[in-house]
Amino acid sequence: MKKAITLTVNGDIHELYVETHHSLLDVIRNELGLVGTHRGCDTGNCGACTLHLDGLAMNACLLLAVDYDGSEILTIEGITQNGALHPLQQALVEKGGIQCGFCTPGVVMNTLALLADNPHPSKTEIRARLSGNLCRCTGYVKIVEAIMSVSH
């Protein structure tokens, strides 16, 4: 069964006709082709699909798209302005916080939401917040360092 919804994604308005059982992640990736938001587990554990829904960091795999008609969504593709990396992205690049990179968009989106609430989080607060973003490459060391470098 399908239903019509409207989503504002990265500032663009999309009128969509979506399957009622499809997640926001399905719609973002498959209907809108915004494949920077990654699917790592589909159970809300890995955080690779983190995006901003009305300003809050959410796991898109856990949200049914039809429930969010009229919402405003920001994905990783909406972070870069005029081709310039956001300072957080720049820090992750320069500090070695990116290896395979599959978790990176989720890390960026979750961290930006954290910094919006708390511009100067402690290392412990950063680690606690990132516990919802699994990474298998870096041991998180350089990710945390990168976030510390832009927030202190």
Binding site: E77, C100, G101, A128, R136
Partner: protein
């Protein structure tokens, strides 16, 4: 411009990954792309009597359904015991049928419409069952469930026993663990006009996969092109061909359209490869003066229903057993056993995390038995540079002692710490806490430190007849350099390290270099990314190619400047006369671009393309004795773990992990640290939290909620120490580091637990349940009279 070697150059592909622009396998979009799904067996061992696909085929949106009838008549894989679809199921992973449909939803719906009639057969789920004389056979044509046995020895065991003042023995149980790459397995197959097959793949072995697929599909390897996407983690997962790859190809051929076959996370846990669980017994001896006398290991590995390259991991277990520390008498035996359990494969460290766990916990016991400090004991027996082990490993550079001393110094710093200010506070307010069960009673919190070392191949590993890699370096008329390398980028940063090597040789910046490394139609041959070999092997190949290109450039520049080529150097994008004492403005020089243009534009001109091929001076191990120098260099490392054990809950919290690694020379220290820190995360999981719980061939915890990776909140403080020994064979002195980060971790943590509570843990992972059971057992033995 200062040297690029040793610089923390950011990963070249990181900006694309930071912005979501990198294209992973799941992101590949092709016109007309269809979706494939696999139906797995409902029984761990069963004959497939009948597969009725008619209802599935009639479902609107289904393009075709495939079964074993669609297989080529050949078998594939390391043990040649696999077919794409099965007519006999030997594990719950076995592929019975496949559906191709317009979308994933339709494909799933169609799977449910396929009717399979099974004739269930008795199945075996343990090594003991598998080896009983009348056990059902997993592969009847093999005649036995024992796939292979490895026997190794050097010295004389009886003499070693006679020379020992103390002999100890212990048994170990090692779990199923898995790679848990953040990106699940995925392949996109397209069959082109003219019969050529293109696969977008996450493989680590593109050229071997061409050959493997050629066998599996019965089409020539020349008709198969592998394109590697950005790869979201590998860690050994991509070292073999797996059935889903030829299945995707069969689907694309039958459907006549491109097909994507992507695993769900649950499928990844169930149908992806796991590390072989093992049961190990170990006896070892030592003299009163602290010298090791002998080591005797017998291991049995459950390789599951099919053989992969992972079942040669005993070769690496053997190396650790025979050559970690100087040890005169060694015997090693390993049996690889078929069962109807999970399919196993190669995983980072390839036998080394397992063997380092038992060898290094036993080292601690031996040190204690002779009353020696664990670090002093290890230093006394440590491997040394410019020696050959009895196994035939030619150790050139060796920083094992320096690594041990570095982590011992870290332990001293930990001991001298004032209060607890440097200990990270436990993080408790997060999603899936591992360490939130801390007792409030500090009397139950016991601290300890433990050490372990590691030896790992660092200059390739001659597993195949060639351990080579090819490279070419093109310089264009803008001075831009293109490195085409056979090697594969899996996130480790090889493309950046190789660019640094080439840039250094040509006197340009890394930004002036493009690295092409993803297409078998373009890149020269390479064995694959495994065995910590890429920096050493692909690095030497890239360096040779760059030197070849530079010689061509120097030849032309020498003519233009009227000097001899050997008077020239490449620096700052220019070719200049080597006159170190002249003021820069007066030195005759030419821009690189101008020299290349001169070659292009003259009569009989030519391009600048340098070639490199490097195959290290090593040998395949002797087939009977397993002796020989398998690698051109060996990496060493040591770790110190500081833990806190809660004796009320059995909870082990790692407070600090110091990791020292001898990497020869760190071409990019940031990338080296990244390998060690990431390896430590995997090693900590192996030590404490990660285990696939398997019952009757079924994974009971196929999700991240129950298969526990260390999160950012769980990680201890990690101190990463790079030891440089300037390896004589490595590019600019470098050797490999990719696998060493997690190899000694479980042993270091186990030794720290012993230091804290006096209990030797011999089963991994050391979960609260297991630690608590061991504590209660000890209390029963020591404190309470038997009722």
């Amino acid at each position: 411009m200062s040297s690029l070697i040793g610089q923390r150059i950011p990963k070249l592909d990181a900006p694309d990954k930071a912005t979501g622009r990198a294209t992973y396998g799941h992101d590949v979009r092709l016109p007309g792309l269809l979706h494939g799904k696999i139906l797995y067996s409902a029984h761990p061992h069963a004959r497939i009597v009948r597969v009725d696909t008619s209802r599935a085929e009639r479902l609107p949106g289904v393009k075709c359904v495939l079964t074993a009838a669609d297989n080529a008549p050949t078998r594939f894989g390391y043990g040649k015991d696999q077919t794409p679809f099965k007519s006999m199921a030997r594990s719950l992973r076995d592929e019975i049928a496949g559906v191709v449909a317009v979308d994933a939803d339709t494909a799933y719906e169609a799977l449910a419409l396929i009717q399979v009639e099974y004739e269930p057969l008795p199945a075996i789920f343990s090594i003991e069952e598998a080896l009983t004389p009348d056990a059902p056979l997993v592969h009847s044509e093999h005649g036995s469930n024992l796939f292979q046995t490895y026997h190794y020895s050097h010295g004389e065991l009886l003499r070693g026993e006679a020379e020992s003042d103390v002999i100890l023995e212990a048994s170990y149980r090692l779990p199923y663990v898995t790679h848990a790459c953040m990106e699940t397995s995925v392949v996109v197959a397209q069959f082109e006009h003219g019969g050529r097959l293109t696969l977008w793949s996450t493989t680590q072995i593109p050229f071997l996969l061409q050959r493997d697929l050629s066998e599996a599909l019965g089409i020539p390897g020349s008709q198969i092109r592998i394109i590697q996407t950005s790869i979201g983690g590998a860690f050994g997962r991509g070292l073999d061909i797996y059935p889903y790859e030829p299945i995707a190809a069969l689907m694309a051929i039958k459907a006549g359209k491109p097909v994507r076959l992507a695993f769900t996370r649950r499928e990844e846990f169930n149908a992806g490869p796991a590390r072989q669980p093992a049961e190990v017994s170990l006896r070892a001896g030592v003299r009163r003066d602290g010298r090791l006398t002998f080591r005797d290991v017998a291991a049995v590995l459950d390789i599951g229903a099919y053989v992969s390259w992972g079942s040669v991991t005993p070769l690496v277990m053997m190396e650790t057993t025979a050559s970690l520390y100087k040890i005169p008498h060694v015997r090693f035996k390993a049996d690889c056993v078929y069962t109807n359990n999970l399919v196993t494969g190669a995983m980072r460290g390839y036998g080394n995390p397992q063997s380092t766990f038992f060898v290094e916990t036993m080292m601690d016991q031996l040190a204690e038995a002779v009353g020696m400090d664990p670090v002093e004991f290890r230093l006394l027996n440590a491997n040394e540079p410019n020696t050959t082990t009895p196994q035939g490993l030619v150790i050139t550079s060796c920083g094992m002692k320096e690594c041990l001393q570095a982590v011992a110094a870290a332990a001293d710093r930990a001991a001298k710490r004032q209060g607890d200010e440097a200990i990270p506070e436990p993080v408790t307010h997060y999603q899936t806490p591992i360490f939130n069960a801390q007792s409030s009673n500090s009397n139950t919190l016991k601290r300890g430190i433990g050490f372990a070392t590691t030896l790992n191949v660092g200059g390739g590993a001659r597993i195949y007849r060639s351990d080579g890699c090819g490279a070419s370096v093109k310089v264009d008329d803008f001075g831009h350099v293109t490195l085409v390398t056979g090697s594969t980028e899996i996130g480790q940063g090889s493309e950046t390290v190789l660019a640094q090597i080439v840039a250094e040789a040509l006197g340009v910046c890394p930004e002036d270099i493009s690295v092409i490394n993803t297409d078998t139609d373009v890149k020269p041959w390479d064995v694959g990314v495994h065995a910590s070999r890429t920096t050493f092997i692909a690095g030497n190949a890239a360096h040779l190619a760059a030197l070849d290109a530079r010689a061509q450039i120097f030849e032309t520049a020498a003519e233009m400047l009227g000097v001899s080529p050997d008077q020239l150097i490449a620096r700052n994008g220019r070719i200049e006369l080597a006159t170190p004492h002249s003021p820069p403005a007066t030195i005759p020089s030419l821009p690189l671009s101008k020299v290349v243009r001169q070659r292009h534009f003259r009569e009989g001109g030519t391009v600048v393309i340098g070639e490199g091929w490097y195959d290290p001076p090593t040998k395949l191990v002797d087939k009977a004795t397993y002796k020989g120098n398998i690698s051109a260099a060996y990496g060493f490392g040591a770790q110190m773990a500081e833990v806190e054990v809660d004796t009320e809950t059995g909870q082990v919290r790692v407070l600090r992990l110091a990791c020292a690694n001898d990497v020869g020379r760190a071409i990019n220290p940031m990338a080296v640290e990244g390998q060690i820190e990431g390896g430590a995360q995997m090693g900590l999981g192996y030590a404490l939290t990660e285990e696939l719980i398997v019952e009757n061939g079924r994974v009971l915890n196929p999700d991240f909620h129950h298969y526990r990776l260390f999160t950012a909140a769980d990680m201890p403080e990690i101190e990463t120490i790079i030891v440089e020994t300037d390896d004589p064979g490595g590019p600019f002195g470098a050797k490999g580091v990719g696998e060493m980060g997690g190899t000694p971790t479980a042993a270091a943590v186990a030794n720290a637990i012993y230091d804290a509570i006096g209990i030797r843990m011999t089963e991994l992972p050391m979960t609260p349940e297991r630690v608590l059971a061991a504590i209660l057992k000890k209390e029963q033995v020591h404190d309470r009279p038997t009722l």
